[in-house]
């Protein structure tokens, strides 16, 4: 009885603390109006991911809405990156990877027999954890996507537009022919975002895009995400809970689950809701413990 009370007490404290933090972090002007029903980009029904027969993520069911920033948070090894890589079939590149369950993209089965993963990746772009510019000029980095798609007309305008939308144009417009490796880490990551949006995808996946960056570069990329969601649906995996609170509309919290004899571990979706709710009034105790910093 006494222990229950004290747990409830700390729980409330934690909730209040989290609410306070979220209140500072969340910028209401960027929130999409709640209530209005949005189109779904992805619908997952009981998705499992296995590597060489070993389950990495189990039973994920969630809908991702169009022109939202959707964040996936959770401790290391909870499978959030694994799950993200299902959305553009990057898991296909890993030998032995297998995706089970239903994963719909605008109502189409993404893993259907007639779906070409190359076409999928044209529609669903990806930004990686570590900036990975190509060893080419800044211009050629951005032009790479349009070139392989055969969109050679107006290439210069396309490159400029992509760089402007990635908030990089002013910093690089005088040195487009310089090697991209000469840019700072934050600039390289924005270049990767420009490269991604130059092919006009529908959705952008971001796999911990700021984990290798300093706070100022991180802030720029976060601002960029909020601007980009006007045009794109964004799914971001992040280690950083404050980042999820700052930029996302909806948040999915994943956790590591162990089987009975603690031999196998896999990622499991614990809670998925409006970001505000996840950070201020989560339904699940484990979410609350995580967002309040008690575990993880």
């Amino acid at each position: 009885m006494a222990t229950d009370e004290s747990r409830a007490e700390t729980g409330r404290e934690a909730r209040e603390a989290a609410a306070e933090r979220a209140a500072i972090a969340v910028r209401p002007e960027f929130r999409s109006p709640s209530g209005g029903k949005k189109e779904k980009v992805f619908e997952l029904n009981g998705v499992d991911v296995l590597y060489s027969g070993v389950t990495a993520v189990k039973g994920i069911s969630l809908d991702i809405q169009r022109k939202d920033v959707t964040a996936m948070i959770g401790p290391s090894g909870c499978g959030k990156s694994t799950l993200l890589r299902c959305f553009n079939r990057m898991n296909d590149l890993i030998p032995g990877a297998e995706v089970r369950g239903e994963l719909l993209y605008h109502g189409e089965d993404l893993y259907g027999p007639n779906v070409d993963p190359v076409q999928v990746r044209k529609l669903i772009g990806m930004v990686f954890q570590k900036p990975n510019p190509f060893p080419k000029s800044i211009y050629d980095n951005v032009a790479f996507g349009p070139r392989i798609l055969g969109n050679k007309e107006g290439l210069e305008e396309t490159v400029e537009r992509a760089l402007r939308r990635a908030a990089l144009w002013d910093e690089v417009k005088d040195r487009l022919d310089d090697n991209a490796f000469g840019l700072s880490g934050g600039q390289q990551q924005r270049l990767c975002i420009a490269r991604c949006i130059a092919v006009e995808p529908d959705t952008i996946l971001m796999d911990e895009p700021c984990s290798a960056l300093d706070p100022i570069s991180t802030g720029k990329i976060e601002d960029l995400m909020i601007e980009l969601k006007e045009e794109f649906s964004i799914v971001i995996v992040t280690h950083n809970m404050q980042q999820a609170a700052r930029v996302s509309d909806r948040t999915a919290f994943l956790m590591v689950e162990l089987d009975a004899d603690e031999q196998n571990r896999w990622g499991r979706l614990v809670e998925y809701d409006e970001t505000e709710k996840i950070f201020t009034n989560p339904a699940d105790k484990r979410t609350e413990d995580y967002v309040s910093g008690k575990v993880g």
Binding site: N132, F144, R147
Partner: protein, 313 residues
């Protein structure tokens, strides 16, 4: 009279003592260590000197003997059995150039193709792919005379039945250096980080587009270095050529498919060197100088290319 004044000398003493101890600890390296260090450094230097001494002796000897025979006539005159003062290397030089041209034509597409397949397409968890990998390593260590026998049995005679023509010699040399090219190309391709492949594929590039536009351009310097080193090896090979028809004495300019025979620089040098006359031996030494200069230049160019253009990730 206890006070700050009285404490001062004692403090100073303590500081001085501590400093002396530190100095002693810093200076007194055990004598055994000093000697061992010197002995090992000396032995390692000796190893370097032995390696250099071989090259140096070769250069000195070749220059001492051959400098008198060095002239432009070497490049323009055909060999002669009777007049060493008029004999040259012209057919051998042309033969060698044609041989390595054939090697390059064969080895670049096949070597890079094999390397790309093994690195980008082959599933290295499958046993047959691992078997291929191990055997390519083994092939690089097979003695060149064995390749000569292979060339004789399968290219000159046997299934291809080309006869003793220059193209057959070229093909034999190409097979000899192919493993070198494959191994060097694979290393260059493997040095391209996976993040580049993923970045390209994530933009909707196909695997071939990724290879053609990202992997190959990034690995070309490494591949070129491997090809140059392989070609310089082919240029210096003698043994397999003797088996596949590099005739020792040819006075005309060889052509790739002529059945009249052909010659190559190392073969011609060998031919001059075994003759008893001093003058011919000087001629052989002059040929060695020419070959050394060409080979050193090629190898230096390969090293320069690698250092200049190799991508650092």
């Amino acid at each position: 009279m206890e006070g700050p004044g009285a404490a001062m000398p004692r403090n100073r003493l303590a500081v001085a003592g501590a400093r002396a101890t530190t100095q002693a600890m810093l200076r007194n390296q055990p004598r055994g260590d000093v000697i061992r260090n010197a002995v090992f450094a000396g032995l390692l230097l000796l190893a370097v000197l032995i390696a250099l001494a071989g090259l140096l002796a070769l250069l000195i000897q070749a220059f001492a003997k051959g400098s008198s025979a060095l002239s432009l006539d070497l490049f323009t005159n055909p060999p002669s059995t009777a007049f060493p003062e008029r004999a040259g290397f012209r057919p051998a030089i042309i033969g060698s150039l044609e041989l390595i041209a054939g090697v390059i034509l064969f080895v670049i597409p096949v070597g890079i193709g094999a390397a790309l397949y093994l690195e980008e397409y082959a599933d290295s968890t499958k046993w047959w792919n691992r078997l291929v990998e191990v055997n390519i390593q083994n092939l690089a260590a097979v003695p060149s005379i064995i390749y000569g026998i292979l060339g004789l049995a399968f290219i000159v005679r046997g299934p291809l039945d080309l006869g003793f023509i220059l193209a057959a010699g070229s093909l034999t040399l190409a097979l000899l250096v192919l493993p070198m090219v494959i191994i060097a190309s694979r290393e260059a391709i493997r040095a391209v980080p996976d993040s580049i492949r993923q970045g390209s594929l994530a933009l909707g590039a196909t695997q071939w587009q990724t290879i053609r536009r990202q992997i190959l351009p990034a690995s070309i310097p490494g591949i070129a270095t491997g090809v140059i080193l392989a070609v310089s090896r082919a240029l210096g090979e003698t043994a397999p050529l003797l088996l596949v028809g590099a005739t020792v004495f040819v006075t005309f300019d060889p052509t790739p498919f002529s059945p009249d025979g052909y010659s190559a620089m190392p073969v011609q040098i060998f031919n001059y060197a075994v003759r008893p006359q001093e003058d011919f031996q000087a001629l052989a030494a002059a040929g060695i100088i020419v070959m050394l200069v060409v080979l050193l230049a090629m190898n230096s160019f390969a090293i320069w290319l690698r250092n200049r253009y190799e991508q650092r990730w």
